[in-house]
């Protein structure tokens, strides 16, 4: 059972051409990273997959479950690009509230919130007000909120932006631990760091998928002479160039 988008078209305004047109995509096993230039439609794709946006045409399903069903929403978790704090809530309450919104019972959500905060190394700040966290800590809180209800598919919108190198390491280890049992789709601009750790790479440009496949086939797009440390970036650039994308 996996997450599938079939012939999805979506635009933010009916006056303009759709940002995503007739896009079909199936989320593979393990960790998939979603690459693409700014404005390519990565966030829109993730929002459609999370059933936060409704496509004009086409469908979003998890197995046989439609995106509008409660079952879909409990199996799919989404971490948005911007994590806004909620001043009345502490960090633990914030995470537990998201768990409750996703269908967990009150006590269960409360207990799991600590475990999720522990996973992102934020347990020691659990009782602080959420608006007192730094930008990087907010992202970790957002990630904990995405993890709290043990979803089967995790959609992460630039989760590593603003994290320090140690936290990036923690985050990558966490993804490594999750990815055998959870399907993860993560958008990022951090090509060099993550491409070689991902099982699959999807490249989006102007609302269409340029590449979707195992990491090794993605890396093969780079010139053979490229040093190992730069091969992911080179492959990404080569893909975009071959598609005539504006790299500026």
């Amino acid at each position: 059972m996996t997450l599938q988008l079939t012939d999805c078209t979506y635009g933010y305004s009916r006056r303009n051409p759709p940002l995503i047109r007739d896009l079909s995509y199936e989320l593979p096993d393990g960790l998939t990273i979603l690459l693409g230039p700014n404005g390519a439609g990565k966030t829109t794709l993730l929002k459609l997959a999370a059933s936060v946006l409704t496509p004009r045409t086409g469908s979003v399903k998890y197995g046989q479950l439609s995106g509008f069903t409660k079952e879909f929403r409990t199996k799919v978790s989404w971490m948005p690009q911007t994590i806004a704090p909620l001043p009345p809530l502490t960090v633990r309450q914030y995470v537990a509230y998201v768990g409750w919104l996703k269908g967990l019972g009150r006590r269960d959500a409360w207990d799991r919130a600590v475990r999720a905060l522990d996973q992102v190394e934020l347990a020691e700040r659990a009782d602080e007000k959420s608006h007192r966290l730094s930008g990087g800590q907010l992202r970790r809180m957002g990630l904990a909120a995405a993890l709290v209800h043990d979803a089967e598919a995790l959609l992460l919108d630039e989760p590593t932006a603003g994290l320090d190198p140690h936290q990036r390491r923690v985050f990558r280890d966490l993804l490594g631990a999750l990815s055998p049992r959870v399907r993860v789709l993560m958008s990022t601009h951090d090509v060099a760091d993550l491409a070689q750790e991902a099982d699959h790479v999807t490249v989006l440009e102007s609302g269409r998928i340029l590449h979707s496949g195992p990491t090794r086939t993605f890396l093969a797009h780079g010139p053979r002479t490229t040093p190992d440390s730069q091969v992911a970036e080179a492959a990404y650039t080569a893909l975009l160039t071959s598609a005539g994308a504006d790299l500026d």
Binding site: V52, R73, V76, L86, P88, V98, G103
Partner: protein, 195 residues
């Protein structure tokens, strides 16, 4: 649900807003002022208690804006329905406050407060569908419009003003109920497009 209530400032902003409204209603229940008017050369005689529902509409706006939009949109709990109950609760409390002050001090104007609050909250909730949080300014704009252009003669308001009509006016009561109902429907069926 406790966290939802806390997220909506149910333990802090909401009681503070209602306390503030009560104090203002007590202070202004029978006070009038002459405001500038486009239709009356002598100015519009405006009961200051008409401004008191602004506290309620602002409080409701603040409570509804204190939310985790993304998580609530992708969650499975009927949060919009809870929001409607919260709004209805606030309006009911304002009605009770107005009635209490009215009976205690013999002021019909204070009793109108509940009806006016229902109307202005409904107006704000409807406007939120299109203009988002800025809709909190709409009730203030309505009151200003009533003062500026809502009177034929002193103490003779046009029917559309609603809040300037006397307590027993059935059209105003009906309009308040209808606008409040539309506001609640807008709150429930707001587009699922996320911010």
């Amino acid at each position: 649900m406790t966290w939802w209530f806390r997220a909506r400032l149910g333990h802090s902003g909401l009681p503070a807003g209602l306390a503030c409204l009560t104090l203002l209603a007590l202070a202004l229940h029978d006070t009038s002022a002459i405001l500038p008017s486009l239709t009356l050369t002598s100015g519009a005689p405006t009961r200051l208690v008409e401004f008191v529902p602004i506290v309620a509409t602002t409080t409701v706006g603040l409570c509804l804006d204190s939310r985790l939009e993304n998580a609530e949109v992708s969650g499975i709990r009927p949060v919009r329905l809870f929001d409607c109950l919260l709004v209805a609760f606030v309006v009911a409390v304002v009605c009770i406050i107005g009635l209490g002050i009215g009976l205690m001090l013999g002021s019909k104007l204070a009793m109108e407060m509940g009806r006016d609050t229902a109307f202005l909250v409904g107006l704000m909730l409807s406007a939120r569908t299109w203009i988002g949080p800025s809709a909190s300014m709409v009730p203030l704009g309505w009151i200003a419009a009533v003062a500026l252009a809502g009177f034929r003669r002193p103490n003779d308001p046009y029917f559309w003003t609603v809040i300037a009509e006397p307590l027993g006016n059935p059209v105003a009561a009906l309009a308040s109920g209808a606008v409040f109902g539309v506001g609640l429907l807008c709150l429930i069926y707001r587009s699922r497009k996320s911010t």
